[in-house]
Structure formats: structure tokens, C-alpha cells
Amino acid sequence: MKQFLYFIRKEFYHLLRDRRTLFILFGMPVMQIIIFGFALTNEVKNSRIAILDNSKDEATTTIIHQLEASRYFDIVENLNSYSELEPTFQEGVIRMAVVFPEQFQSSLLHTNAAPIQLIADATDPNVANTLTSYASAIIMDYQNSMRETKAFPYAINTELRMLYNPQLKGSYNFVPGVMAMILMLVGAMMTSISIVRETELGTMEVILVSPIVPIRVILAKMVPYLLLSMVNIVSILLISVYILEVPINGSLTLLLFECLLFTLTALALGLLISSISNSQQVAMLISLMGLFLPTVMFSGFMFPIENMPIPLQLLSNLIPAKWFYYIVKDVMIKGTGLETVWKETLVLVGMLIVLLTISIKKFKVRLE
């Protein structure tokens, strides 16, 4: 036991004496959660659009004003002819164009029918879809306001309630995701080079000739980073609650416990990477390129997992961040307890055990 404590002390010295790294490790997560918490949103608003108004009458002016007044659109161009449309799209200035035909108002008044064309830049299909439906809704509102106010018979009235996030804030969805991403990457990255650095710099030899057993070497490497991550977890949660205004509706103890469990999994994953790679560069490349994109894509906070092809849905189960994201969403925002997240928790525990076992098995007690 005493031997183990000495080792932990050694690792602490390693960590604490490299001021620059320490500073980055504390500063980075804080900066990231602030930047991404505010800036990342899959909402679509302030999209630049162009208007091609061939009619220029009262009706088109009113519709244009209503489009402008909504927070979804920013009218940046007024075009004069159809031929200007394509070049404007190609310059990448606008996302959608609204085209009014000639005599819009008069045909609307006399024949009770008039067309409007919405042309969307579908290079981003998500934005194209959303913009089209928002613009349609605004135009429909105008149409309904033109109709007589007589109530329809046999009307079904639908009342709508937004659960958990009545203001539809993007941060409710993104903060749990960003938390998962940061804890995963920082955790895995820190430990991924810890073992291989000793090999690369030659200090591993000293450890190997000592009587300490591999499991203790590995656990000792985890402890300081775990403490550091706990500081990070607390600061991330404080920022989420007080700056990003995402509430913690469930039990704080449970949330902290789950964060800790997830961090341990990340650290174990890093250790595994460290014990299978032969240089710091390789370890870093694996933990960055191998973890960054998959964590972003498969945790479910950017892209809905149910839309993916079945093999990828199965693959996503291997990503610890996916499970953690579910847990944080449930505990933090829905405010549910362990009874709804026990399965996900067990999955994380299982992953932790498997990862630790493999990295201990893979730990080389001999130099090559």
C-alpha cells in the first residue's frame, strides 16, 4: 500500500511540475464549454435570403416585411431578374430565395389563388428543409389573416406543450453533449501518453525493475488525472448552471457520480491506447483522430442515432459518450433518478472493467 502511495505521489509531481500543461488542462474545458455552449446550436436563424419581387404590390410588400421581421430571416439581396438567382447562390451569399410572380396581389384578389416559389440552397439539406417550412408558415399566416375571421365549423383545436425546455433553447441539447465530448477527450488524451512517454523517454526501465506490479502502475497513473478531472467536472457544471442557464433538475449526487464514472471510463480508454502504442505521436493521433470525430458523431447530440444505418447504430453502442449523454440528459434536464438510467450506468461500469482489464493485460513488463 505504501509503495502504491509513493507511486501516486510520483505521478502527482509529474503533473504538477509541468505548469504549462496543467494550465491548459484546467483552462481548456472551461473555455470549450463556454464557447460551444453559446455558439453551437442546430437552430436555424438569421439566414440570409434574397427576394425576387416581380410584382411589387401591397401583398408582396407585407409578406416581405413579415419575413424580415421574423428572427429566422435576414434579407440581404433584392434581385431584379430570374437570371441573377444562380450567380447569387454560387457566390455563396444566400441560403434561400423567395420569388413572387407578376401580378401577385391582383391574381390573389381576383382568382383567389396565387403562387410563391421558394428556392433553397440544398447543399445543406437540414437548413434548406427548415427554412422552407419556416417561410411557408409565415406565408400561411399571411394568407389566414387575409381570410375573413369567420370561424370554421367542425374545428379541431390543438394545444401544444413543450416538455422540459419550453423556450426551446439549443443549450439544453448541446450542453450534455459537449460535456460528454470534453470529459471523454480530455480524459483519454491525458492518460493516453502517460505510459508511452515513460517508454519513449526511457524512464520505463526504472519502473520495470522495481517490485511494483502492473496493476498498481496503471492505477497510480489514473489517480492524479481523476482528481484533476473532478475539478473540471465541478467547473463545467458551475458554468452550465450559472452562465449557460441549463438547470440541474435531478439529483446532484447522482449526476456527480455518473460524471465520475464516465471520466474513469475515459481515463481507462486512454490507458489502453497508451499501452498498445509505441510512441507519443501514435498515441496522440489515435486518441485525437480516433476519438474526436466518432465521439461527436455517434454520441447522438449532433445527429440522431435512429437515422443511421443499422450497423452504425450497433457501432454507436460501443461509444461510451453515447451512454453518458443519455444519462446527463435524463438526470440533468428531465430530472429523473437512477431508476431510469441504471441500464446505461451498468453499461458504463462494464466498459470501465473491460478497458481496465485489457490495459493491464496489455501492459508490457519487458522492454523490447
Partner: protein, 372 residues
């Protein structure tokens, strides 16, 4: 010139003699390019709905059938208890609850109007919003059918009707892969370029071999060029592989010219490598270099407009993206590959990125010191 040639020989030899790195450089991007675009699809469909039917009338059943027949909704729960439905939402089994209260049919027919209640899981605000819109339009359709049953409609439009037709240009099938592949390609080129360049000089510092270079008559700019060119070549090779894969697996053939893509990539890589070099002149160990370049890259990539639209970001983030080379390359790739924009259309992008390249590389050269 000869010095540079020898330096380049050394660098290439170093890269090719480390098979682990080489494998990572080539295989990882390929796998990611093949797998990730398949996963990137955020169209809202397959919304799980729980219907709370307290009416049990023919209308309530007809409405339920209509909803479960639509391609947007999966009926997962059909119950008469609201609480049970909400529990399903808590367990993430259902996204939407539609409550059909008792006497729905009777009220609709006898009282001329009836009420429905809808509750949506709004943690993902966009999904909730669109889910609400879809469900409402189904209910409106249903409403229209009911009305037809009970009253005769006049033949001509009795009231003004605006007909909205929407067209999707440049990607008429709304294929998400067309959107994601060019962007992911940019990320891969950037990550390989910036990381390796940053790690490379620092490695010489950490292991101590930089001393040997410092005592030779090699000039600063020669040294930097010697570090830069190999990764510049690698970046272009990865880009070419990526374009080839995009063509084979996703059928993406650039609408614009390859020349435009490559010209921009050449300049862009210069800027990104400059960034990597700059980081490496400020750090002492590989760990530091990696952490910093990771942080910078993560911010650049996530705010680069690959995943979320830049238009929707707050003002300060939009200003930041003006200084983000990744944004420019992603935009250019999408413009040239999907819209067929020409060199003239991307002239501003090209100019700005050239500026970044010159600025970052000059800074790196100035900051690199030959003495310790």
C-alpha cells in the same frame, strides 16, 4: 537549395521509416471518410409518438391510424393513461404525446369544435418544433376530412389561397452525404496537416536532436521549409485520396473544376501548416503541443460550420469564424464541389486564406530561435 534538398530527404525518410505513423496518416482518414458520412443525417423523421386515447371512438382511432401511417411518426404506445405516456417520454421511448380527451368525437360533431393536447420532449428544440409542425399538419388533414363528411364545399376557392412551391437547388434529393463528405474531407486534411507539423518540430526539441540542427549552418527559413513541404505534400495526397473515395463510394463528382479545389487546398495547407509550426515554436513537449493544437483544432472545427450553421451562431462567434481558415475551406469545398462555383466566385476566400498563410508562417519563422 541543396541544403533544402537534403533536409527534405531527411524528413521524408523519417516519415517513411515510422510505419505506425504512416498507417495512421493514411488509414484513419479513409475509414473516417467511409463511415462518418453515413452517420451524418439530421433529418427529423421516425418520431416516436405515444397516443393517449381516452375517447375510444371511431374518430380517435381514425386519427391514430392516420398518424401511424405517416412516414414521420412511429406509434410506440397506445394507452388511455396520460401518466403512462409521460413515463415513456421520461424513459426516452417516446418523443411526443398526443392526448385525445373523452368526448372528442361527440364534441367535434355536436359542439362544432374539439380539443386535442400535444406534449413534446423539447430537449432537442429543433426536433420538437418540427415534430409539432408535422403532427399539426396531419391533424389539419384529418380535420379537413371530417369537415368533408359533414358539409359540402363550394367548387371554387372560396377564399384566397397562396400556393407555395419549393425547389431545392444544387442537391435536389436532399442527400446529406453530399453535404457532409466535402466537409469531413477538410477536417481530415486539416487534422493531419496541423497536428503532424506541430508535433514534428517539438519532437526534435524533446528528444534533443534539434541541437544538431542548431549547430549547422542551416538557415531558419530553410529549416522551416524543410519541415513544411513534406506535410504539405502529404496533405495534398490525402485530399486526392479523399476526392477519389468520394467519387467511388458516394458518387460525388465536383461540379466545379479540380483546379480550383487544388489551388485553394495548396494555399490552405500553407496556412494550416503555418499554424502547426507556430504552435510548435511556442511549446516544449509533445504533450503541450498536442493539447494546444487539439484545443485550437476543436474550436476551429466545431465553429467551422461543418455541423451547425454559422448564420445561427451569436455575433461574437460569427466574427470569430472570419478568422478561422477551416470555415473558408469548408465553404469553398461545398461551393465548388456542389454548386460549381468558379475561381472568380471564391476569390475573396482565396485572398483571405493567402493572408493567413503569409501571416502565420512569417510569425513562425520569426519566433523560431536557433539558440536554446
Amino acid at each position: 537549395m541543396r541544403t533544402l534538398k537534403i533536409l527534405l530527404e531527411k524528413e521524408f525518410r523519417q516519415i517513411f521509416r515510422n510505419p505506425a505513423i504512416l498507417r495512421l496518416i493514411f488509414i484513419m482518414p479513409i475509414i473516417q471518410l467511409l463511415v462518418l458520412p453515413l452517420a451524418a443525417d439530421y433529418e427529423v423523421r421516425d418520431i416516436n409518438i405515444a397516443v393517449v386515447d381516452q375517447d375510444h371512438s371511431s374518430y380517435s382511432r381514425k386519427l391514430t391510424d392516420k398518424i401511424s401511417a405517416s412516414k414521420y411518426f412511429n406509434l410506440v404506445v397506445y394507452t388511455n393513461s396520460y401518466n403512462e405516456a409521460i413515463r415513456e417520454v421520461e424513459k426516452d421511448n417516446a418523443d411526443v404525446v398526443l392526448q385525445i380527451p373523452s368526448f372528442f368525437e361527440k364534441n367535434l360533431v355536436k359542439e362544432d369544435g374539439a380539443q386535442l393536447f400535444m406534449a413534446l420532449n423539447a430537449i432537442n428544440g429543433v426536433k420538437a418544433n418540427l415534430g409539432g409542425v408535422y403532427l399539426r399538419s396531419i391533424i389539419n388533414d384529418f380535420n379537413g376530412e371530417v369537415r368533408l363528411e359533414w358539409m359540402q364545399l363550394p367548387r371554387f376557392n372560396p377564399q384566397p389561397m397562396i400556393k407555395i412551391s419549393s425547389i431545392n437547388w444544387f442537391n435536389p434529393l436532399l442527400n446529406y452525404q453530399f453535404f457532409m463528405v466535402p466537409g469531413i474531407l477538410v477536417i481530415l486534411v486539416t487534422m493531419v496537416g496541423a497536428f503532424l507539423a506541430a508535433l514534428n518540430i517539438v519532437k526534435e526539441k524533446e528528444i534533443g536532436t534539434i541541437e544538431q540542427i542548431n549547430v549547422t549552418p542551416i538557415r531558419k527559413h530553410q529549416f522551416i521549409l524543410g519541415k513544411l513541404i513534406p506535410f504539405w505534400v502529404l496533405g495534398l495526397v490525402i485530399l486526392s485520396i479523399g476526392l477519389l473515395l468520394a467519387r467511388i463510394f458516394y458518387g460525388i463528382i465536383p461540379e466545379g473544376s479540380f483546379l480550383t479545389v487544388y489551388l485553394f487546398a495548396v494555399v490552405y495547407l500553407l496556412a494550416v501548416l503555418g499554424l502547426g509550426l507556430l504552435i510548435s515554436t511556442y511549446t516544449e513537449t509533445q504533450q503541450q503541443a498536442m493539447l494546444i493544437s487539439f484545443f485550437v483544432m476543436m474550436v476551429f472545427i466545431l465553429l467551422g460550420g461543418l455541423y451547425t450553421s454559422i448564420d445561427s451562431m451569436p455575433m461574437w462567434a460569427q466574427i470569430f469564424t472570419k478568422f478561422n481558415p477551416v470555415t473558408y475551406f469548408i465553404e469553398v469545398m461545398r461551393m465548388v464541389v456542389l454548386k460549381g462555383s468558379s475561381l472568380y466566385d471564391i476569390r475573396h476566400h482565396l485572398l483571405i486564406v493567402t493572408g493567413f498563410g503569409i501571416f502565420l508562417n512569417t510569425w513562425a519563422v520569426i519566433n523560431y530561435k536557433k539558440r536554446s
